[in-house]
């Protein structure tokens, strides 16, 4: 591979890898608090993409209940991105209320909650199809109006061309990663979240309302998941109601690779998989999706706890 191509692919890999990272953080946050994987997270990702699509004023297709529907207004893309994230966050809160809390109140086995979140994922995907049909949607290219479609970081003789959209994605993801890290490590609420993730019972005996923090966690998880959905939709296209499901599996690979419940691990896992996919030679591009799982398989053979995970020490 030529150096410029390598650099180009590296940048693309960092860009998509940073989206993997923020998406995977949605899983990680919930896992670190409840010890359960939220299988509906992929569906939230999908919904975030559709919310933003609607909010910029785009028209839906002719299938589904909302055939040819369109909002009477269109928000500028940055605003729609945030509002779409907030709506996805509210879907996250709804998932907590309907899928997690009733089982938690009854002291159900985590495995049951996992299955109920899987059921929620199926329900959400079908709702999307019911309302807006199964066709693919693309954001109009005008959302990045004013920006050139690509930027040449090289010279005219040795071009190093990067799509603007990749840069935008990387910047937004980076802002979210830094913001979330600061929130968790530097604020009062973040401190309480860390306490609950270590020992919710003790935290509640110190006056912390764990249920409220769990709701907040689901909101944040849905928010970052929804933003990730929009960013991927922007980079490629919204492929339909199942958009987030394949992505969801890759997100799982990311968190297992990085170390379950470990925030830096999710970020590292996302970047590793994103870059690895993009460094594949053009002839092997069809195997792109297999890469994540191949890496996962190899790493788990050597480090079953993930790259940054702490080994479970079983006391005998």
């Amino acid at each position: 591979m030529e150096l410029t191509t390598l650099l180009q692919q590296l940048i693309n890999g960092l860009s998509i890898g940073s989206v993997y990272a923020i998406f995977a953080l949605g899983y990680t946050l919930i896992f670190s608090i409840l010890g359960i994987i939220n299988f509906a997270h992929g569906a939230v990702f999908t919904m975030g993409a559709y919310f933003t699509y609607a909010l910029i004023g785009s028209r839906f297709g002719f299938n589904g209940i909302f055939a040819n529907a369109q909002l009477p207004f269109g928000l500028p893309f940055p605003l729609a991105l945030i509002a779409g994230g907030v709506l996805a966050g509210l879907v996250g809160v709804l998932i907590e209320r309907t899928t997690f809390r009733p089982l938690r109140r009854r002291g159900a086995d985590p495995l049951l909650t996992l299955v109920s979140s899987l059921g929620m994922a199926v329900a959400l995907v079908n709702l999307i199809q019911y309302f807006v049909g199964a066709e693919a949607y693309s954001y109009p290219s005008s959302v990045l109006a004013g920006l050139p479609p690509s930027i040449n970081f090289g010279t005219p003789e040795k071009p190093l061309i990067v799509r603007t959209v990749q840069i935008v994605i990387a910047i937004i993801s980076l802002i979210i990663l830094v913001g979330l890290t600061l929130f968790i490590n530097k604020t009062k609420t973040g401190r309480a979240l860390r306490a609950v993730s270590e020992d919710g019972t003790t935290a509640s005996l110190l006056g912390i309302n764990t249920d409220r923090l769990i709701v907040l966690t689901f909101f944040i998880s849905g928010f970052v998941g929804g933003i990730a959905g929009t960013l991927v939709g922007l980079s490629v296209t919204i492929t339909g109601p199942y958009f987030g499901i394949a992505f969801g599996l890759k997100g799982l690979a990311v968190i297992v690779l990085g170390g379950m419940g470990n925030i830096p691990g999710a970020v590292l896992g996302g970047l590793v998989i994103g870059i690895a996919e993009n460094l594949l030679p053009a002839s092997a591009v069809a195997y792109k999706d297999a890469i994540a799982f191949a890496i996962l398989f190899i790493v788990l053979l050597v480090r079953p706890q993930g790259i940054l995970g702490r080994a479970q020490i079983t006391k005998v």
Binding site: G179, F183, T187, K188, T189, G190, R191, A192, R194, A195, E198, D199, T201, T202, A203, S204, L205, L206, G207, I208, N209, T210, L216
Partner: protein
């Protein structure tokens, strides 16, 4: 006229067929050190779990300062002024000593999630105040110089003291201590009674204490309740309890 601060009336907790706590009633007066003793499995820790809302009674009631808190959740009871420590220490191991204490001040702050994120002057002021108070508490238990060390790296005795500092940060009215001397060496144990008295005076606390070390309980407590197989078999001052035939029977029976 002594004022009742904590009262349980006819409290019962069943776990399936097992009656862990059976129709227990007593009232703790403000300002006293109240001991809770009994053989293993007598229901002492279950009683603590009932008082802190971790588990709810099958029947009976729980009053805190005259208010019925029987069905309140742990964080609500904690906010009303009951703090506890555990038999096996339960610190947040990956948080620093300072953070452990600051977490317990959460209920005494008012700034919201959002003002914390954008760092409004009020939120910053509050955070600074909380930090100062936490450092003050750490200083009191001689851990201020290691405030930034994560809790799991402290030796056992220091973890005990950190746990007490964290409980005090909640600014409780009542402090429940579940075997505070467990795992301490004789040296540390000798200083414990003095430390509990000192803390009680300084923070105007009422203390309820579970402890196996009978001489220590007799020397420290104003009144003692004795549980056996979930039932309250004696209640009174140390001399009364020591002379009670049912208590002698329970302890000798347990060992024989």
């Amino acid at each position: 006229m002594p004022e009742t601060i904590l009262e349980v009336t006819g409290i019962t907790r069943r776990f399936g067929g097992l009656i862990a706590v059976n129709d227990v009633s007593f009232a703790v007066q403000r300002d006293e050190i109240f001991g809770l003793i009994g053989p293993n499995g007598a229901g002492k820790t279950t009683l603590f779990n009932l008082i802190t809302g971790l588990t709810h009674p099958s029947s009976g009631k729980l009053f805190l300062m005259g208010q019925d808190v029987t069905h309140q959740r742990p964080h609500q009871i904690a906010a009303k002024g009951i703090a506890r420590t555990f038999q096996n220490i339960r610190l947040f191991g990956n948080l620093t000593a300072l953070e452990n204490v600051m977490v317990a001040q959460h209920v005494h702050t008012s700034s919201g999630v959002f003002s914390g994120i954008i760092g409004t002057p009020k939120a910053r002021r509050e955070e600074r105040h909380v930090r100062e108070q936490a450092l003050h508490l750490l200083d009191m238990v001689n851990l201020a110089d290691r405030a930034e060390t994560v809790a799991r790296n402290f030796p056992y005795g220091d973890q005990r003291r950190l746990e007490i500092a964290r409980a005090l940060a909640l600014q409780p009215q009542v402090l429940l201590l579940d075997e505070p001397g467990a795992g301490m060496n004789p040296n540390e144990k000798a200083g414990l009674s003095g430390f509990i008295r000192e803390v009680k005076e300084k923070f105007a606390l009422t203390v309820v204490l579970i402890e196996h070390n009978v001489p220590m309980v007799m020397g420290l407590c104003d009144r003692i309740a004795v549980l056996n197989f979930g039932q309250l078999i004696a209640l009174g001052n140390p001399a009364q309890v020591q002379a009670d035939p049912a208590v002698i029977e329970a302890y000798l029976g347990d060992e024989g």
